[in-house]
């Protein structure tokens, strides 16, 4: 599964790790993130994310 990086702050969403602090289980693909999910570092919405190179 692909990693995504936040354009605003550089945070990398790694599907293998998920975001357990915010209720996202490890193994959750980026496209399956809940609509309400925002960047845990800066609060940016998912449309600010790009596929990591």
């Amino acid at each position: 599964m692909e990693k995504y990086v936040c354009n605003i702050c550089g945070y990398v969403y790694d599907p293998a790790k998920g975001d357990p602090d915010n209720g996202v289980a490890p193994g959750t693909a980026f496209k399956d993130l809940p609509e309400s999910w925002v960047c845990p570092d800066c609060g940016a919405t998912v449309d600010e994310f790009e596929k990591a190179e």
């Binding site: 605003i8 702050c9 550089g10 570092d41 800066c42």
Partner: protein, 402 residues
């Protein structure tokens, strides 16, 4: 009217050309009771470079200081390390006076400056990029989200200086430019206050950045922040202070923050504080109606034990407490022993909302929330005293077991 201001030399090839804002007391809601400065710097090399500018109303002061060294039109480059208006507000005036060949900023900086001032012609740079000034060069390091997406720092190798924008800065107007010429106690307090109110939520990024510094291979002798005095001695000390702030390790100090309508919550607050005091732990109480939000945050950041108390009003936690709750939540305080309390007439949402916030912030609450009806009775004030004593002991245990 031409203003008369002079630059001050900070290294063989660099001059301070900033502005001193002696009388600012409210900096976007931060109580600047000692004023502030907006530092800008002029590098005299083959390519003459201005690093950062000042808040818009101080453009004349900056340009006057520049003119005391060199005709502003001789400046070739401007570097904008941070797009926030306290450092970029004078950029349009500077560009008009200087007509620079290039303006260097981060990619996010270019976007942000464009929204504030229109396209003044920005050149985006990132970590690893540098610009040759002739005798020396400026290397750029991204510091995204420290504390805005655009934030970066610049290293000038010829004089071994790091232009650190808001990092390592403080709000303090003073006529002595160097930190070592000012009392350390004031430096420490103001750095802690600045960190608590501006950077606390990015503590982990600060630690990562400090850890990565040695690997960048920069030989830094002087750190030039954009606010307050500059650092040329004992850089380890300021770097260690930053690490301390970012670690948020427990310290043997407590603060009881409260709001009160008819004095009931205050009685609980004072009983609790006296219990803390009885165990030899330093403690203070702070009434939200007379203490500024930024000073409360400074006290909270500097305490290992925090107790928040408030009445319930209109079925909600009292408004002044809601304000500080919102503030500390955003600033992501951590690693504290916490206690929620209050007084109410009937419904009692106040202390419950405080306890819920502490839970959300994952702060340890060894004792359940405690709320009294109308006025604490003598057995209840005693319970508050005992709660203070018990949590003070818990704090000391936590520190000793580290």
């Amino acid at each position: 009217m031409k203003k008369f201001f002079k630059a001050q030399q900070v290294s063989p090839n660099v001059w301070w050309v900033g502005a001193i804002d002696w009388n600012v007391r409210n900096f976007h809601g931060y109580l600047t009771d000692r004023g502030s400065t907006y530092n800008a710097f002029l590098i005299i090399d083959e390519k003459i470079t201005l690093v950062d500018t000042v808040k818009a109303p101080f453009a004349d002061e900056m340009l006057a200081r520049i003119s005391s060294v060199i005709d502003p039109e001789k400046i070739d480059y401007i570097i904008s390390n941070h797009a926030e208006p306290d450092h970029s507000g004078a950029l349009p005036a500077a560009v008009a006076a200087i007509k620079p060949e290039k303006i260097f900023t981060s990619a996010a900086g270019a976007k942000t400056l464009n929204l504030y001032y229109g396209d003044l012609g920005y050149t985006a740079v990132k970590t690893g990029d540098s610009v040759d000034l002739g005798n020396g060069k400026c290397a750029f390091v991204d510091t995204k989200m420290l504390h805005w997406p655009d934030s970066m720092v610049t290293y000038y190798d010829r004089d071994k200086l790091l232009f650190s924008q808001d990092a390592f800065g403080m709000h303090l107007a003073c006529s002595k430019l160097w930190a070592d010429e000012n009392p350390w106690s004031v430096m420490e307090y103001e750095v802690r206050k600045y960190f608590a109110n501006i950077l606390n939520l990015y503590s982990e990024k600060v630690i990562a950045l400090l850890d990565s510094l040695p690997g960048l291979g920069l030989d830094i002798e002087v750190i030039l922040p954009d606010h307050g005095p500059l650092w040329r001695k004992d850089l380890d000390k300021i770097i260690q202070l930053y690490r301390d702030c970012a670690l948020q390790a427990p310290v043997p100090r407590a603060v009881v923050v409260y709001a009160t309508m008819w004095g009931s919550t205050k009685v609980c607050a004072e009983a609790f504080a006296d219990g803390v005091r009885s165990k030899g732990v330093e403690v203070e109480t702070a009434d939200l109606l007379v203490n500024d939000r930024s000073n409360i945050m400074t006290k909270v950041a500097g305490a290992g034990l925090i107790a928040f108390g408030a009445p319930t009003m209109n079925n909600q936690v009292y408004p002044a407490m809601a304000d500080i709750m919102n503030y500390i939540k955003g600033l992501r305080i951590k690693n504290k022993i916490a206690f929620a309390f209050g007084s109410c007439g009937w419904s009692g949402e106040g202390a419950k909302q405080i306890a819920a916030l502490f839970d959300e912030l994952k702060l340890e609450q060894p004792l359940p929330m405690k709320q009294v009806k109308y006025m604490p009775q003598s057995n209840e004030t005693e319970e508050f005293f005992n709660a203070g004593a018990e949590l003070a002991e818990k704090l000391l245990e936590k520190i000793n077991n580290k």
